[in-house]
Subunit: 363 residues, 2 copies
Amino acid sequence: MFLIVVYKDIHFTKIIYNFLERDLYMPKLTIKEIAKIAGVSPSAVSIVLNNRTGVSEQTRQKILDIVEKLQYTPNPNSRRLLFNKTNNIAVLFRKNASPLEHFFYSDLNRIILHEFESRGYNLIFTSVTINENNVLLPNVIKSYDVDGIIFYGDVEPLILSSIRRFDIPFVVVDNHLPVHDILSVSADYAEAAYTATNYLIDLGHKDIGYIGTSSQAHFNAQTFSGFKKAVEEHEIVLPINWIQIEADDENSAYNCMKNILNYGKVPTAVFCSADIYAIGAMRCIKDHGLKIPDDISVIGIDDIILSQYTDPPLTTVKIDKVSMGKLAIDMLVKKIEKTETTITSAKVTSNNIVERATTKAKV
Amino acid sequence: MFLIVVYKDIHFTKIIYNFLERDLYMPKLTIKEIAKIAGVSPSAVSIVLNNRTGVSEQTRQKILDIVEKLQYTPNPNSRRLLFNKTNNIAVLFRKNASPLEHFFYSDLNRIILHEFESRGYNLIFTSVTINENNVLLPNVIKSYDVDGIIFYGDVEPLILSSIRRFDIPFVVVDNHLPVHDILSVSADYAEAAYTATNYLIDLGHKDIGYIGTSSQAHFNAQTFSGFKKAVEEHEIVLPINWIQIEADDENSAYNCMKNILNYGKVPTAVFCSADIYAIGAMRCIKDHGLKIPDDISVIGIDDIILSQYTDPPLTTVKIDKVSMGKLAIDMLVKKIEKTETTITSAKVTSNNIVERATTKAKV
DNA sequence: TGCACTGCAGTAATCGATTACTAAATGCTT
DNA sequence: AAGCATTTAGTAATCGATTACTGCAGTGCA
């Protein structure tokens, strides 16, 4: 512990430095200390550390040796102040986001953490709150403590405009709302719905229920258009009662399924616009004494981690969160580092069926 | 966009400031700009912002007005440099941590995010890697870019000693390995196992299987001792084949259950030292044509989010991650802010049975 | 031997906020 | 009205790293 004090003295530091063992306690060092120990000026040390020219090979080696031995790292705050670059990225959530979002974004978190880390950025997880039309942004943003922002999910216009005022590069991932002039990566949920519905139709199903949401109207518009397209292409006619759009979570999806089952005729398959709806629907189907997939096939969208653990495991259309994440990171980093300034939005194709056990050919 | 330039000129800034509307683009400001606009010195602004005395009420109001209108926030990097305090906390993971950890720690993440944010700390998520006995710590730690570290799960001695060298306050949450002189919060898994086993015994079960792990030996030692205590207190004798400790994930737990079922006599209940093992065991039981809970009762430990979605929903002993998180945060913040220096380790009691549908009284 | 030029080391200003210290201005008393 | 005390305003140093610039030593050429 006493080493901190000792290091202040040039004579002792030289001695200590020679004896320094790897497991010793490691004091904070400054560029001046390193310079003193090496017997050079701070600028020489800086030149070596930043791979610039202007020092002899001899001093370069001496400095590198000492830096390596003492494991010196420049104070990041000093550099941040000087260069006006933080190397921080904010990962922004809505504060009251449902716990379920963890299912959706756990893959995304992992890939983002890994990618940004390998590019030398720190990831700061933080949240926005809205109360009474007032957007409460976190301090990291208000004080320009980040170089970029990555936002998950639906970004309301109110949040959008407050973030925009700070002129910090930001990208929105998996947003369903219409946005302009913004970096955004989303999945093609219309395609996903189309793929899922066609999959059911190809299995011979003609009586298909639809469970979607009205709380996310733009999302539902996408999934419904995909569903409708597939159904129409095969000239299938469905009773309006089989179209349920009041799902919001597992329980409301349960009720949607109930409405479908309580209508006179029972469909042979159900399309759910999200896996979590499918889970609710499955519970309802079981409670009605029907068998999955023998009596009713069920398909979802997303492929959240839960889906492989349901009984039976859920067939679904995978939304490729990893690709979305990688695309988003690329766009954001390019914007930050000004490699490219073109504002773009990307859409990840979503036609990858994960065949599990909730679907079956109609006999 | 042109405002940035304009702000550099004192004359225009005064005009602009009057016209500034809330939705305008917001340029980065310095304390000098604010001082210029207010017609005072930077020190006066600083005094007002830090609630110190030394300015007249009149200037204080004027400054506060301008600060509020322009939404000025001091440059955090400047303050960090001066005070040598980052207000950052590192949340440290093992890089190769299994995706399953997301189930365990999603609650913890949420509570930690909320608590630290309200205390004015930023949360930086980051990871350690070990390759060939070399510990690779993230740069945020190596460059002292955090005031504290919070570590999830088992902390190997190697990681422990490398972190320790930096002398950054840190706390370990949910660690099963023995540690000394370290802030640590863990759950009492012996108590959890004891509670779970007693619950089964109280339901009339005398033939109980045990599924534990050998990959986390210290964890297993805890759960097994709790299990053993309950069994011995009721003078129950079990065949050794029912004691399986080769579980590591869902699939290995499946095999453990298979071993138990393949032994001549079939138990009426199974204790699993983690919910994820219980999920594997349940799949095995179903595959053998047995009914849960009618033929075999199953109980786990943890109460991960998955557990409420299994079929039937899993009865388990809840590990209170939220309390663990709150305790850990408290200890860490106290250490950082030197309110208290006593090194302590806390253990959260774990005797809270979550009764769901995988257990049933023996007939 | 002297002059020009190259290569290297060191000095000082900078980034923005804070604060100890100094200077100025005000109020109060006799 | 002069002198003292007290409040308020302003100056400059500081945190650590970087870099433009200055200065010095050494080499080569005439």
